[in-house]
């Protein structure tokens, strides 16, 4: 089935939910409201003539600087594929800025677990009903969500774990550990310069 036809079927079935259909380089994306996302994906997966059984990808997008009009601040993008029928579709669920959350689809695909955790970690979109929503790539005490557009490329501040490590290095430095092992006695005075052994 052509992707466009899948999108039309989805629009017929969930006419209230589908906001727009866009086509780019032969790939079709359906922009939808977030409320019935689980039902929509279940319908796509279980309908006998669609059978979109493979969740290829799930990721969050920050729409802050995007030129298209009528988009909410965030969206969660689901790329689905049907292995038996060989067609694909992209679902783009709109998520507002003041309440960034979507229902989890771990009930449909267990593999969505880590995708959703990554999305939560890097984009700050939470997933209602997720069994274990923790940070995954960043340390648990990290501040902020790096893939949001207002987050600077270089980051804001050092991670507290690194600060702690550096403090420890300075602390150990005053005991002059490694003296005589790492350095020859001739270079003994050099540690007063401060930055040679960190």
């Amino acid at each position: 089935m052509e992707s466009m036809e899948v999108a039309r079927r989805l629009q017929e079935q969930f006419s209230e939910e589908v906001l727009d259909i866009c086509d780019f380089q032969g790939q079709v994306g359906v922009i939808v409201k977030r409320d019935k996302i689980v039902e929509m994906l279940r319908w796509l997966r279980d309908s006998s003539d669609l059978r979109m059984d493979h969740l290829m990808d799930l990721c969050g997008v920050d729409n802050k600087n995007r030129p298209e009009a009528n988009l909410q601040r965030f969206e969660v993008v689901y790329n689905l594929y049907s292995i038996p029928l060989r067609h694909s579709i992209r679902i783009r669920a709109q998520v507002p800025e003041n309440d960034p959350c979507v229902d989890t689809i771990t009930t449909l695909w267990t593999g969505a677990d880590w995708h959703e955790r990554e999305c939560f970690d890097l984009m700050g979109i939470s997933f209602t009903g997720h069994p274990d929503l923790r940070r995954i790539l960043l340390p648990d005490d990290w501040q902020g969500h790096p893939l949001r557009k207002e987050y600077p490329l270089k980051g804001r501040e050092e991670w507290s774990g690194l600060v702690e490590l550096q403090r420890k290095a300075v602390e150990l430095h005053q005991f002059d550990l490694g003296k005589g092992i790492l350095r020859q006695p001739a270079a003994e005075q050099s540690h007063t310069k401060g930055n040679d052994k960190s």
């Binding site: 866009c22 493979h54 990808d57 030129p67 593999g111 995708h115 790539l137 960043l138 790096p146 490590l165």
Partner: protein, 408 residues
Amino acid sequence: MTRPMTKTINVPVADGEGDRYTVKMGPQHPATHGVLRVDLELDGETILKCTPHVGYLHRGFDKIAEHRTYAQSLILSDRLDYIAAMANNVGYCVAVEKLLGVSVPLRAKYLRTMVCEMSRIASHLLWLATHALDIGAMTVFLYCFREREVLLELFEELCGARLTFSYPRIGGVRQDVTRHFIDKLQRFINEFPGNLEEYETLIDTNRIWLKRTVGIGVLSGQEALDLGLTGACLRGSGIDYDIRKHRPYDAYDLVDFEVPLGADGDIYARYRCRMEEFTQSNRILQQCIDQLPPGPIIGEDAPDLVMSLQGSRKVEVDSSRYGTGLVRLLEESGEYPAGDIYVSTEVPKGELGFYFISDGSGKPYRMHIRSPSFIHIGALPALVEGDLIADLIANIGTLDVVLGECDR
């Protein structure tokens, strides 16, 4: 809970009731194939709960790519799966080409198919070597590295690098192959089936190998799909999903090969799948050499680094701006199409997908990498919970994960 930074506890911590205790395996454990930490709750030797922790290698490629042009981000793909960097490069290029609508000359398509399959063999060799070593078959490890060395030498001859190649370019490849390269590759293709037989005699019917792999880590096709597994892990469970057949890219629709499938869904089935893939990759390599057409190696409209090689393309030097006389980057003008696209390719580990959003500027508005290893490690608890701790090592091996790709 913060990550342990200064020390890793590998000593069992008594946890009260009976034989129950917690073991933190990694992140520097050799059998985790990289910086993976697995927290295990054990009852004796049985795993009750397994919690993988990843992210030690997170470098923020998604964010970095938003601040680079498409051509500049190519080098990021090298650092995903560094065992098979060539396949990652090709995956990135195929995705950007589709996004920008760039056409690739036929010769370049064949060359890319060729390096992809060399990459697949090199990656599977490393998988077999370490997987066998984990289970206790040391000799296989040495044999596999012998053949991998030949491939790495070939890569070095092709592009000068042994690890991070950046050989494919958006719209083609960087350099043409030489006669010497083809001859050397032909010798490898001729010898490889014999080598393959050598590995198989060592482990294929080895009693210890069978005991450690048959009936261990079993996943049905439905379970594997549900967990999002791809590549040989999915095909080992009998699901026929290979992107080279489903959505062919480069020259894969012009060469003849089969997709090996397993039935049992255990470690042995996945092992057999990958062993058959060796043979198929070798077949593809032979066809690439035989069918390699003459012609240009990079498209005329490639918005990429232009190298002054063989005088095949005109070079516009603007060293005042970019500091080197060799390269020119396309102006960041509005000639890029705006839209979003998801393109995936079959890398040795599974499905590597790139999701791009272009807003018409020369840089991606958003790039998301769907890496197979990330999903595969997520499936680890489903494979090992209830099994013995010794099988955990075999299971990590069979998933064939690379942490650089997982953490991105």
